[in-house]
C-alpha cells in the first residue's frame, strides 16, 4: 500500500486550472523530486496535500486514510510535514522554540519539556545548533530555511514535503542538506518529496524518481536521469530546438 495516493486531483482558481487531473503514488522511504517551471502547479499540489486547500475533484489517501477534506491541523499528526518556499518562522520565538513547536504538535506529539530538549538534536542535525537562542525573525533567509527543515524533521513525519529548500544555498550547504535528507530518509524511512524550480544537479543527486509538472498537469514521471533527458522536459525548460 502506498503512503500517499493522489487520485485524479484537480484544483481550480476561477478559470485557471492550477492542478489538472494529477495522480501520484508515493511509497514509504521514497525520494521524489517534483520539478517544473514557475506556475506549473507545484505549490498548489503541496497545498492540496498539506490541507491548505481542498481539491475540486479527486481523492487524497494518506497511510490508508482518506484525507481529501481533512483540515490541515488534523493531517499533520498523521505524519505529514512541510516547509515553505518563503520560510514562515514564528518570529518572536527562539529558534529552539520554533523547532520544539514542531515536536509538540506534529506526529511526535511530545510534551513541552521533551520537545525543548529534542529541539537541540534537530538543530545540530541541520547544523545550526549555535542559533538555538536567537529570535527566529533575526535569522538570515538561509538560516530560516535550515530552521524550517529542523522544525519539519522534529515533527517526525512519514512524508516530508520540501519546498525549494535548497534555493539560494551555496554548494557546500546544498551538499549538507542533501546529506541530511538522505540520512533521515534511510534511518527513519521518511518519504521525502522535494520541489525544485532550477537546481537540477541537486535533484539528480537526491531523487530516485522525478515528476515533471507543466501547466498544472503531470507531464512526465520516471527515473531521474531518464526524465531529465526527455525531450519534452528539455523543451519546457529550454524551448524547442531551432537549428
Amino acid at each position: 500500500m502506498p503512503l500517499l495516493e493522489l487520485h485524479r486531483v484537480t484544483k481550480r482558481f476561477g478559470g485557471i486550472v492550477a492542478v489538472d487531473n494529477v495522480s501520484l503514488e508515493i511509497d514509504e522511504g521514497d525520494a521524489i523530486g517534483i520539478v517544473g517551471p514557475n506556475g506549473s502547479g507545484k505549490t498548489t499540489l503541496y497545498n492540496l496535500i498539506s490541507g491548505v486547500y481542498f481539491p475540486d475533484n479527486g481523492r487524497i489517501i494518506f497511510d490508508g486514510k482518506d484525507i481529501t477534506f481533512l483540515p490541515a491541523h488534523e493531517r499533520t499528526p498523521l505524519g505529514l510535514a512541510r516547509t515553505f518556499q518563503i520560510p514562515r518562522p514564528f518570529g518572536s520565538a527562539s529558534v529552539r522554540e520554533n523547532v520544539a513547536i514542531g515536536a509538540m504538535f506534529g506526529r511526535a506529539k511530545l510534551d513541552v519539556e521533551s520537545a525543548l530538549d529534542i529541539a537541540d538534536h534537530y538543530l545540530s542535525i541541520v547544523g545550526i545548533e549555535k542559533l538555538a537562542e536567537k529570535e527566529a525573525k533575526l535569522l538570515t533567509p538561509l538560516e530560516k530555511r535550515f530552521m524550517e527543515l529542523a522544525r519539519a524533521l522534529a515533527m517526525k513525519p512519514k512524508l516530508l514535503l520540501l519546498d525549494e529548500v535548497m534555493a539560494g544555498m551555496n554548494p557546500a550547504d546544498v551538499d549538507r542538506i542533501i546529506e541530511v535528507i538522505r540520512r533521515v530518509k534511510d534511518e527513519e524511512r521518511i518519504a521525502v518529496v522535494s520541489m525544485v524550480e532550477h537546481l537540477m544537479h541537486a535533484i539528480t543527486r537526491f531523487a530516485e524518481r522525478v515528476v515533471v509538472m507543466h501547466q498544472g498537469k503531470k507531464l512526465v514521471e520516471g527515473k531521474t536521469l531518464d526524465v531529465l533527458n526527455d525531450p519534452r522536459v528539455v523543451e519546457i525548460y529550454l524551448g524547442k530546438r531551432v537549428v
Binding site: 498539506s50 490541507g51 491548505v52 483540515p71 490541515a72 491541523h73 488534523e74 493531517r75 499533520t76 499528526p77 512541510r82 515553505f84 514562515r88 518562522p89 514564528f90 518570529g91 518572536s92 520565538a93 522554540e97 520544539a100 513547536i101 514542531g102 509538540m104 504538535f105 506534529g106 510534551d111 513541552v112 519539556e113 537562542e133 522544525r151 515533527m155
Partner: protein, 328 residues
C-alpha cells in the same frame, strides 16, 4: 515540570506584596491601591486573550458588564440566601461571560485581524441597547442594591463587602490571573498561541488546532473579565447601570494597559496597569480637569519609546543576563 519555569512569578508577587503592604500600612492608601489593582487585574485578564493570541477584542467590556449584571441579579433575587448569594453572583458572572464568549467566539473568531476587531465592537453596544431597549434587568434604570444589601446583610457587613471585601477579591483575581497566565505559557497551549499569533496558517500546517486554542484563550479571558465586573463594579459600587458598564472606554483602557506593559508577557499587564492606574489617579488629583490631556501624550511617548511594551523591552535587553529567568 521544572521549578524554573515558574520563577517569573516571583517579581510579580513581590509587586503585589508591596502594594498590599502600602495599602495596609500607609493611611489613606487602601482605596488608591484598590483603584490600581482594578487596572492590574483588567490588564491581566485582557492579556490572556489579546496578549496571547494577538487578536484585539473591542467588545471586551461586555464581559465585565455581563459579570456585573450576573452579580447584581444574584444579590437581587437570591438575597434571602444571605452571603451565599455573593458566591452565587460570582458563579453567575463567570457562567454568563463564558456563554457570551462562546457565542461571540463561535462567530467572530472565524474572522482575522481587523475584521475580528470590527465585528466585536458591535457586541458591547448591542448589549447596552438590548438591556435598555427591552427593559431587561431594569432597563436603563439599572439595578440599585445598596438598600437591599443593607437590609439583608446588615449595615456593617454591607459596608465591609463594598469597601473591603470587594478589594480583597480583586487582589485575589489578579493573583489567580497571573498564575493562570504562566500556567498557559508553560504548557503546550502557550506555544500553540505563540505560533498562531505569529503566523496562523503556518501554525495550522504545523498541526495546531488554531480555532480550539483561540477559543480556549477567549473563554479564559472572558471569565476573568466577568469576575472583575462582578466584584469591582457591582459588589464595590452596589449598583449597575447599562451605560456605565457597557462602556467602550474600559476596553480602550485595557488595550492601552496591555500595550504599555508588553502584550503576551506575564509581568507586562501588571506594570502597564500600575503605570496607567497611578498616572490616572494622581494626575486627576494634581491637574483636575486636564488629566487626560497630560496622560495621553505620556502614553503615546511611552509606546513610541517601547513599542514592545516596557516589560517587552526589558525582556529583550536582559536576554543574556540572569534577569531573563524572572521575566516571561
Amino acid at each position: 515540570m521544572k521549578i524554573r519555569s515558574y520563577k517569573p512569578l516571583l517579581p510579580l508577587f513581590l509587586i503585589y506584596a508591596l502594594l498590599i503592604l502600602i495599602a495596609v500600612a500607609v493611611p489613606g492608601m487602601w482605596q488608591p491601591v484598590a483603584f490600581f489593582m482594578f487596572y492590574v487585574a483588567l490588564g491581566q485578564a485582557f492579556n490572556i486573550f489579546m496578549g496571547l493570541t494577538g487578536y484585539v477584542d473591542f467588545g471586551y467590556v461586555a464581559f465585565l458588564g455581563l459579570g456585573a449584571y450576573g452579580m447584581a441579579i444574584a444579590i437581587k433575587y437570591f438575597s434571602s440566601l444571605g452571603l451565599i448569594s455573593i458566591l452565587l453572583g460570582i458563579l453567575l458572572a463567570v457562567v454568563m461571560s463564558i456563554l457570551l464568549s462562546l457565542a461571540v467566539g463561535a462567530v467572530a473568531l472565524r474572522l482575522r485581524g481587523a475584521y475580528f476587531a470590527i465585528a466585536t465592537i458591535g457586541v458591547n453596544e448591542g448589549f447596552r441597547y438590548l438591556i435598555e431597549g427591552v427593559r431587561l434587568w431594569g432597563g436603563s434604570e439599572g439595578i440599585v442594591l445598596s438598600g437591599l444589601m443593607r437590609r439583608t446583610f446588615g449595615r456593617e457587613t454591607a459596608n465591609l463587602l463594598s469597601t473591603f471585601f470587594s478589594d480583597i477579591l480583586i487582589i485575589a483575581i489578579a493573583i489567580l490571573a497571573a498564575m493562570t497566565t504562566i500556567w498557559i505559557l508553560n504548557r503546550k497551549m502557550g506555544y500553540a498561541l505563540l505560533a498562531l499569533r505569529e503566523d496562523e496558517d503556518a501554525a495550522r500546517v504545523m498541526g495546531i488546532n488554531v480555532t480550539k486554542y483561540k477559543i480556549m484563550a477567549f473563554i479564559t479571558s472572558a471569565s476573568f473579565a466577568g469576575l472583575i465586573g462582578a466584584v469591582a463594579w457591582t459588589l464595590k459600587l452596589t449598583y449597575v447601570f447599562p451605560e456605565d458598564v457597557f462602556n467602550i472606554h474600559y476596553t480602550v483602557e485595557a488595550i492601552v494597559i496591555v500595550m504599555l506593559g508588553g502584550a503576551g508577557t506575564l509581568l507586562g499587564p501588571v506594570v502597564g496597569g500600575l503605570i496607567y492606574g497611578v498616572l490616572k489617579y494622581y494626575l486627576s488629583v494634581v491637574f483636575p480637569g486636564i488629566q487626560l490631556l497630560i496622560l495621553a501624550p505620556m502614553l503615546i511617548l511611552t509606546i513610541i519609546a517601547f513599542p514592545e511594551g516596557i516589560v517587552g523591552f526589558i525582556k529583550k535587553k536582559g536576554k543574556k543576563s540572569r534577569i531573563s529567568y524572572y521575566l516571561r
